[in-house]
């Protein structure tokens, strides 16, 4: 149990350290403005990553979320601007489409036993393609409702303001935590991720849960797309490329094992905050190039994966086994090179 919570603690420590490094160099890091801006900037990614957490907890992966975000953005923008529909109706419709899309992917994964990696990859092509079919141009949204939502925020004493999308993100996060840790569905997800054969034998409804997981992921990606549309006031079919990788990185940095079964939704939140803090630091510094963000996130990925490996493989025993492998003469006990 201890080793389960340790990655989460480590993530939190890294977040605090990064924040302190930033605070030490730039006084502005201490204001609520920085934190609320991070929440606003990363809201769409965060909402998506909450869904991704469930998929990864179940031992699967969803590569389609970035395209779903782009599709939603374009879908909303064209229906609102060109057809004159009310945004709320369009949001509802796109959420239904997103849920159906995810459920279809889940069904293909369950019934035809095709790996999630490949199914969601096809889904990625399909959603991105549909976005292109709708329009190849960037569509700006000028509906007054968008302005109303944009003016909806909570102001902190020191000028920081929690925008609507940031609030949406926090609400989704709380619902995600409740769903993962306090409902039957959440427990089923953990069970499938831990050992799907055992889960089946214990009577976990594999079919409904699998379909539900991918439905949830696409649904939240659609919601992320709506947040992205509100955030950018437009829809663009080339938007959000590679967001799936950012989401996966946030989940992994947040301490969730990619083999499934172990992790916390709250960890994903900290993973998102870490990405946001790194980006803010690079923006504040001004001399660092944007590619340092990629390199820093990659380095953190490596760090956390190494940490997880260290903890799950029993720490010291694992390190000793590594040494044995490099000194063939001392290998009395064969060390199996077992994969996932």
């Amino acid at each position: 149990m201890k080793s389960r919570i340790l990655p989460l603690i480590a993530t939190f420590v890294v977040f605090v350290l990064l924040y302190l490094v930033g605070f030490q160099r730039f006084d502005a890091f201490g204001t609520t403005k920085v934190l609320s801006n991070v929440l606003t900037d990363k809201a769409f990614l965060g909402i998506t990553a909450v869904g991704m957490t469930f998929v990864i907890l179940s031992g699967g992966i969803d590569l389609s979320v970035g395209s779903v975000i782009a599709f939603t953005g374009v879908f909303c923008a064209t229906l609102i601007e060109n057809s004159g529909w009310h945004p709320l109706v369009v949001f509802g419709l796109s959420l239904v489409i997103g849920a159906c899309f995810g459920a279809a992917m889940g069904a293909v994964i369950y019934y035809f036993k095709i790996p999630p990696f490949i199914v969601t990859l096809s889904g990625q092509f399909l959603a991105r393609g549909m976005a292109f079919v709708i329009t190849t141009a960037s569509v700006p949204v000028t509906h007054p409702f968008y302005n109303e939502l944009g003016n909806l925020f909570i102001r902190f004493p020191d000028k920081g303001k929690l925008s609507f999308v940031a609030m949406l993100f926090l609400v989704v996060l709380l619902l995600g935590i409740v769903l993962a840790h306090f409902t039957r569905f959440g427990r089923n997800v953990y069970a499938i991720g831990g050992n799907d054969t055992a889960a089946l034998l214990l009577g976990v409804p594999i079919r409904n849960t699998t379909i539900g997981i991918y439905m949830l992921s696409s649904l939240l990606a659609t919601l992320g797309g709506i947040a992205y549309s509100l955030y950018t006031d437009s829809g663009y079919p080339l938007a959000a490329t590679g967001v799936e990788m950012d989401a996966i990185a946030a989940v992994v940095i947040g301490g969730t094992l990619l083999t499934g079964g172990v992790g916390y939704v709250a960890g994903t939140f900290i993973g998102i905050l870490i990405q946001g803090i790194i980006q803010t630091y690079i923006t504040f510094d001004g001399t660092l190039n944007s590619w340092w963000a990629k390199i820093a996130i990659g380095f953190l990925l490596l760090l956390f994966i190494a940490l997880q490996k260290f903890l799950t493989a029993g720490g010291v025993v694992w390190v000793r086994s590594l040494f044995r492998r490099f000194m063939p003469g001392t290998a009395k006990q064969p060390v199996p090179a077992s994969g996932g």
Partner: protein
């Protein structure tokens, strides 16, 4: 102290019966049928699809173009097949393409071409070894281990080119991507040459068997005396090197290295090609020839959509639908479910 090359006890005389082979490899039949179907559809769309003409010392035609533009994906597929056969996956090949291109395009400014090419390939080799060490030695899940380089790789490539598109004007490097030998584009020779070398290496020695064994059950292979660590390290290195060669082709073709977009999403094309070719993502078996057919399917699909005059917007949708269809055809459970009503009548 890695695997010794084991000579088969009895050298079987290879008598090749095409029909017997197909009867034994129904999956191969499905894949080949898919390729032929796509080519025929292309022929229906464009009557001149199979025409090859000779002009200005080179052969021109859609078929040649498919082979030419498909060369990079074929190279990646060659490496990816071996990686997937060990139950692994290599997400980083697109980033390796960018790194290799960036290194050679930057070095070519003040170094002889041979040095630039060797350093580019060396960087790709290093990337492959890095992936291999993470997967084989540190036992990190392949999808995560290679995700790291996928994320970092483009950052590194941007660092090398200083955030710019490195343009060059060297005839040797651009020959790799756009040269013509015996009337055919040079990339075709390169990809087929690499394929033959790799095929000889894995299928004319015991290496291929060892790879399949590690993919089927690495623990059992370890106890059977196979150095699973070495095998895994080797396949990721080969994959990195293949990606490097593909990177040289793509860089030479556009006479420049674009750290952001060179080889973007090609890893997904390569993985799809391998899966369409019938190599299971669960490892344990592979077929290089069928993977190549998979790569050709993807490329012919792409070319077909281009020449059909269909708006480019439909490209991805058609690709997704066709690929899903091929995957469903290959899925045993799908065929069972679809064929169920027919079975009942006969039984």
């Amino acid at each position: 102290m890695s695997e010794k090359i084991v000579k088969p006890v009895q050298e079987k005389k290879v008598t090749f019966n095409v029909w017997a082979w197909f009867a034994a490899n129904k999956r191969a039949l499905w894949t080949l049928a898919a390729l032929i179907l796509i080519l025929l559809v292309n022929r229906l769309i464009s009557p001149t699809f199979f025409t090859v003409r000779y002009q200005d010392g080179r052969l021109l035609g859609s078929i040649i173009e498919i082979l030419n533009r498909g060369a990079a994906v074929m190279l990646l597929t060659t490496g990816m097949t071996l990686v997937i056969a060990t139950k692994g996956i290599d997400l980083s090949v697109g980033a390796v393409i960018a790194i290799c291109g960036a290194v050679s395009a930057t070095l070519i400014a003040d170094q002889p071409p041979a040095v630039a090419i060797l350093f580019g390939l060396g960087a790709a080799l290093l990337c492959g070894v890095w992936n291999g060490v993470l997967v084989a030695v540190f036992n990190i899940q392949p999808i995560v281990a290679t995700l790291i380089l996928m994320v970092v790789g483009r950052g590194i490539a941007q660092m090398i080119t200083n955030g710019q598109i490195a343009i060059f004007n060297d005839p040797t490097l651009s020959f790799i991507g756009a040269g013509v030998v015996f009337g055919l584009p040079f990339p075709i020779f390169l990809s087929i040459g690499v394929l033959i070398v790799v095929w000889l290496f894995v299928r004319r020695t015991a290496v291929g068997l060892l790879i399949e064994s590690v993919g089927a059950n690495d623990r059992a292979s370890f106890y059977a005396g196979i150095n699973a660590t070495m095998i895994k390290l080797m396949v990721y290195t080969i994959s990195g090197l293949c990606a490097g060669i593909a990177g040289l082709i793509l860089t030479g073709y556009i006479k420049g290295a674009d750290a952001n977009n060179a080889g973007l999403w090609t890893e997904l094309d390569a993985i799809l090609a391998v899966v369409i070719g019938g190599t299971s993502l669960n490892g344990g078996r592979f077929n290089l020839g069928l993977s190549m057919i998979g790569a050709l399917i993807i490329q012919s699909l792409y070319t077909g959509i281009l020449i059909s005059g269909l708006p480019v917007e439909f490209n991805l949708v058609v690709k997704a639908i066709v690929i899903l269809f091929i995957l469903l055809l290959q899925s045993d459970s799908f065929r069972q479910i679809v064929l169920q009503p027919f079975r009942r009548k006969t039984a």
